[in-house]
């Protein structure tokens, strides 16, 4: 058997666990050790990445979901940390009637991504003094992610993270979204305020602060638009969400 053929047989054994695949490798006790190592490492990685989801589902249900995911999606990335990339969508299929399950998984996953996301210094408020507000564009820190949610998964997640009794699942108001980013080295999240996602999206698309205020004015009126945009900007600065204005 060539090296390539052996490695493909080994892969087949790990992925399928079928006796015929093990026999191609000699069928010794050792093949079972590798099969166990393979699945244990993947389950452990998922349990580490999706800690709050595991608490919500309970150990047995989580391990069942993990086992089915492992069967459906053999790993391809060189880092185990990437293995859970599609797990939220997968549990969404398993728990179609419990939408908070997939959203809990998404929060776990996104916080993990933000934790190791690109570094950026947050803008100091005094830097605004030199901004030209006619042309200035607000640039959020690169770790910022906006995540639409349809349930109170955020409240459930926080309760699970702090060891409190989580609330019962309930739907969230339409248009609810979470902002997830890093303050210094620590990931944080909160629900977006009214108009906040619009302003962030327009700014991310390169629209200047003056243009953003004009767009807000179309729905809020001039005075309220400026007040709203200014209030949001102040909040973002205090929450270390802005990397640059310029």
């Amino acid at each position: 058997m060539t090296l390539l053929a052996m490695q493909r047989s080994f892969r087949d054994w790990l992925v399928t666990g079928e006796d015929a695949a093990a026999e191609a490798l000699g069928g010794s006790h050792g093949t079972a050790v590798y099969q166990n190592n393979y699945r244990t490492a993947l389950v452990s990685s998922l349990a580490e990445t999706f800690r709050r989801l595991a608490l919500w589902l309970g150990e047995a249900a989580f391990e069942t979901a993990a086992a089915r995911y492992i069967d459906a999606r053999p790993p391809s990335s060189w880092t185990l940390d990437a293995y859970g990339e599609h797990f939220s969508a997968f549990v969404d299929g398993l728990y179609a009637d419990d939408p908070e399950v997939a959203e809990l998984a998404s929060i776990d996953w996104t916080i993990g991504q933000v934790f190791v996301g690109p570094d950026a210094e947050a803008l100091r408020p005094e830097a605004l003094a030199v901004a030209d507000w006619e042309t200035a564009v607000i640039r959020a820190v690169p770790s910022l992610l906006v995540m639409p949610i349809g349930t109170n998964a955020d409240a459930i997640w926080r309760a699970l993270a702090t060891g409190e009794t989580p609330p019962f699942p309930e739907p969230a108001k339409q248009g609810t979204a979470l902002l997830i980013w890093r303050q210094g080295l620590e990931p944080v999240f909160r629900r977006a305020e009214a108009h906040e996602c619009d302003v962030l999206n327009w700014s991310a698309a390169g629209e200047g602060f003056a243009a953003v205020c004009e767009r807000l004015a179309a729905s809020l009126g001039d005075e309220a638009a400026v007040t709203t945009a200014g209030t949001l900007l102040g909040r973002w600065l205090s929450e270390e969400m802005i990397a640059a204005v310029g």
Partner: protein, 277 residues
């Protein structure tokens, strides 16, 4: 500029991060799993940069897959090179094994047959990896649970590999013991067959007895039989940077440092015996 590795170190594990950031851990160097830090930014990299200020660093990979018949991943090499450029480690190592084939990654250190074909593949891949990183690498002898038919012993394979590529060896003494018991060869023959001048680092670890085989778990203290083998290795190798690699069931730092003191003692005794001889 990259520092030099010497003395006695530990794998830097999360429960002990504070001691490495503060520089209070009584070790001569630290080793981390490369892939845990091949990331865009954030706390893990910040922690390692701070620890790196206090201790010489060894980067130890688990996903290079030097034995893959379909070659190495370009994106992996690029990411690893980026980390090497940032951290300037004293040593970059991985394992004599394969983890990946055709886009499938097992996340386990899988065994190779010790054949001429595998040797050719491994040496080609080592050449490419060392060129991509711009430095010599060390490769660790694996623990294994399957022995494929092959023309060479593991130590013969390692010897020829170092001769052809100029790479060094990371000798894991626990892995020698585990494989020796599992496959029925003499650990002393292994040590005698290794090109000791190529050994750039030594790992010490523990294992457990499985139903049929010894299992390399790295979650136990170093057992007496591994200490005995370490003594024999040090008698042959001379002073080699040595560390304890504890990956799970992590005890207090003080407990690991006490184990490291045992290694210091054995190394000193072996040095005395070499001088006397």
């Amino acid at each position: 500029m990259a520092q030099h590795l010497s003395g006695f170190g530990l794998g830097m594990r999360r429960p002990h991060y504070r001691s490495y950031i503060d520089g209070t851990a009584p070790v001569d160097f630290i080793e981390v799993i490369s892939e845990n830090f091949m990331i865009p930014g954030g706390k893990p990299l910040d922690t390692l940069l701070k620890a790196r200020e206090n201790y010489p660093l060894a980067l130890h990979g688990v996903s290079l897959s030097i034995g893959s018949a379909d070659g190495l991943r370009e994106d992996y090499l690029k990411e690893l090179r980026h980390l090497v450029d940032i951290m300037e480690p004293a040593v970059v190592s991985d394992h004599l094994c394969w983890t990946r084939i055709d886009g499938f990654n097992s996340h386990d250190l899988l065994p190779l047959p010790y054949t001429e074909e595998a040797l050719g593949v491994v040496c080609d891949n080592i050449g490419r990896a060392q060129a991509a990183l711009g430095q010599r690498m060390l490769f660790e002898n694996p623990s294994s649970y399957i022995l494929f038919p092959g023309a060479m012993t593991e130590w013969e394979f390692l010897g020829e590999m170092t001769r052809r590529t100029g790479c060094g060896l990371l000798l894991d003494v626990n892995n020698i013991h585990v494989s020796a018991v599992n496959h029925g060869f003499a650990a002393a023959d292994y040590l005698a067959g290794i090109p000791m001048d190529a050994v750039g680092q030594i790992h010490l670890a523990g294992h457990v007895q499985g139903e049929h085989l010894l299992i390399d778990t790295h979650d136990q203290p170093v057992p007496p039989e591994v200490w005995a083998l370490y003594r024999a290795a040090m008698a042959l190798a001379g002073p080699v940077p040595t560390m304890i690699e504890r990956d799970d069931n992590i005890p207090e730092l003080e407990e690991l440092c006490e184990e490291l003191d045992v290694a210091r003692g054995i190394s000193a005794e072996a040095a005395g015996e070499r001088i006397a001889a």
